[in-house]
Symmetry: C2
């Protein structure tokens, strides 16, 4: 009933993606045994079987597939929190927009145009060219893709999570 740890989620995602404890351990830079134990403990903690494993095949269960998607989302949220906190503490925060998972990026130019009409918002250089370079990305993408436009007055506009 206790809550999950980031380490558990990272290990789980590695195994779920590799479907092989050995390769997953190698990718994580660790030995197989602690990885195997961590997954076992995770399953006990959740009271749910995440993998069907024989010595020849590792397969995700239904609950495992659900957790894989949610674990990626949660890990992205943690990573984004750190990223944005570092950014907010930096000397010159800039306008920052993140789009994820099938959100229609086509509306963004209009939204930014509307933002640009705000008296407090100076039109930044390369505004439209920067914006047009932003494209939606899918949830399954491993590492966040950040694009920044040069509008130094706000820390960020929004973040949209779809999961």
């Amino acid at each position: 009933m206790n809550d999950l740890e980031v380490r558990q989620l990272r290990y789980f995602v590695a195994v779920a993606e590799e479907l092989h404890f050995g390769r997953a351990a190698e990718r994580l830079g660790m030995a197989q045994p602690p990885l195997s134990r961590t997954i076992r403990d995770l399953e006990r903690q959740l009271g749910v079987t995440l993998f069907e494993r024989t010595t020849r095949q590792v397969k995700l269960t239904g609950a495992g597939e659900v957790l894989l998607r949610d674990a990626r989302t949660a890990l992205e949220a943690v990573t984004a929190a750190a990223h944005r906190a570092r950014h907010a503490g930096s000397a010159s925060p800039r306008l920052r927009i993140a789009l994820k998972a099938d959100i229609d990026g086509g509306l963004l130019p209009q939204i930014l145009d509307a933002y640009g009409t705000d008296p407090a918002a100076l039109p930044p250089p390369n505004w439209s060219s920067e914006v047009s370079a932003i494209s939606p990305r899918h949830c399954a993408t491993a590492s966040p893709m950040w694009r920044s436009c040069s509008a130094p007055w706000m820390t960020e506009v929004w973040t949209v999570n779809r999961c």
Copy 2:
């Protein structure tokens, strides 16, 4: 540059909400010193000052406010991952819908009506009454509010995060 841990985020949120290390430690069921160390390590890890502290006052910095919001989002994502994995592994998964943070719940009946027209979806009992009981809640709410309708064919429809 390493990533954050759930424990660090929980401790940070407690201090940020109490603005007092003593009360935060009490709320967390621990002593002040390890809490203080964890916050200090977190700040060093991020390279950002999160609190302005004198012996008489603890105050959030701008970066701290950013992290507070994102940390809540990330913690909710982790909690939701565990919750939904447990649910997916249970014997009889049900239709599950979560609404958060100012999402207009008024559209839900129409969406569920559309879902109900799917040949694979049987109309569950008390459908409309269950749905009408769902209301949006605000991001600041501490613990997730889950409402379940009785449609045993899907694990969940969606989760919407606005942050």
